[in-house]
Symmetry: C2
Subunit: 157 residues, 2 copies
């Protein structure tokens, strides 16, 4: 079996998600709709604060705590997930984008890693310790190709 197990049914757009919110007893508020529009817009790995700024360009009074509360609710519904890419704030994206994260400790860049890359580790760890990894929630740190090249050059000097 591969690393990933079950995939929450994936709503295709803002309206579908809002319908689901209502199903769950929630309300389709303006901040919720705008936040969802931003989440469905391109560009992944946004922090709560970045999302707040984007939402505030349209609705300046939306408060950061509202963003957090909505992200939490959307996460409970399986629509979004957050990932920790290293030190610093968590980043949020649609739950439909499933991939692992690699984060460069030198330059801070984040690479998305297909889950298949983690199968070897998943098998090794399951066999040795009975532990089932989830490579999506926390990034694996290290050093990206560019920084490795730069650091090697410096070491030569």
């Amino acid at each position: 079996m591969s690393v990933e197990s079950r995939q929450s049914s994936a709503p295709a757009g803002v309206d579908e998600v809002l319908a689901r919110v209502r199903e769950a007893g929630g309300r389709a508020t303006t901040s919720r709709r705008i936040l969802l529009e931003r989440l469905f817009a391109e560009g992944s790995h946004k922090t709560a604060e970045e999302l707040a700024h984007e939402v505030q360009r349209v609705a300046p009074d939306v408060h950061l705590s509202t963003i957090y509360r909505n992200l939490e609710e959307l996460e409970r519904l399986g629509v979004v997930t957050h990932a920790h890419l290293g030190h610093g704030p968590a980043t949020y994206h649609l739950a439909t984008e499933t991939h692992g994260h690699l984060s460069c400790e030198s330059c801070g860049a984040t690479l998305e890693a297909p889950l298949g890359l983690f199968d070897g580790l998943a098998d090794a760890v399951r066999a040795a310790l009975g532990f089932e990894i989830d490579p999506r929630h926390f990034a694996v740190l290290g050093h990206c190709a560019a920084c490795r090249a730069r650091e090697a050059a410096v070491a030569d000097a």
Copy 2:
């Protein structure tokens, strides 16, 4: 090549480290010595606050900020490292203990994983993306054997 590259020369005890501190222009203060004694004592994965409490059993006036400053300095000298095991505070241990970390998202337990377990992932990621992972700094999250068994039982019910 395996996941790990270079190993900072490993001082065998408190006095060796303090000698190294002095070499680097630092001073061998009481709080520093006691902190080192606690770090060399058994039990890994201690948070700054836990270390502070242990140190304060011997020297009650040592302040948490002193612990942080000393840990930072010792980290610069390559004597200790910190690891993030999930949400919550970082944990510190001697740099000589090199292993990866697996952290259970259900029960919070931390498993130490021999670095060899990560070789498959390291090779896959290096080949695919030129990225060199360091599995020591951030834990890989997932679910431990006990929690998996418990969760499977609940799912059956």
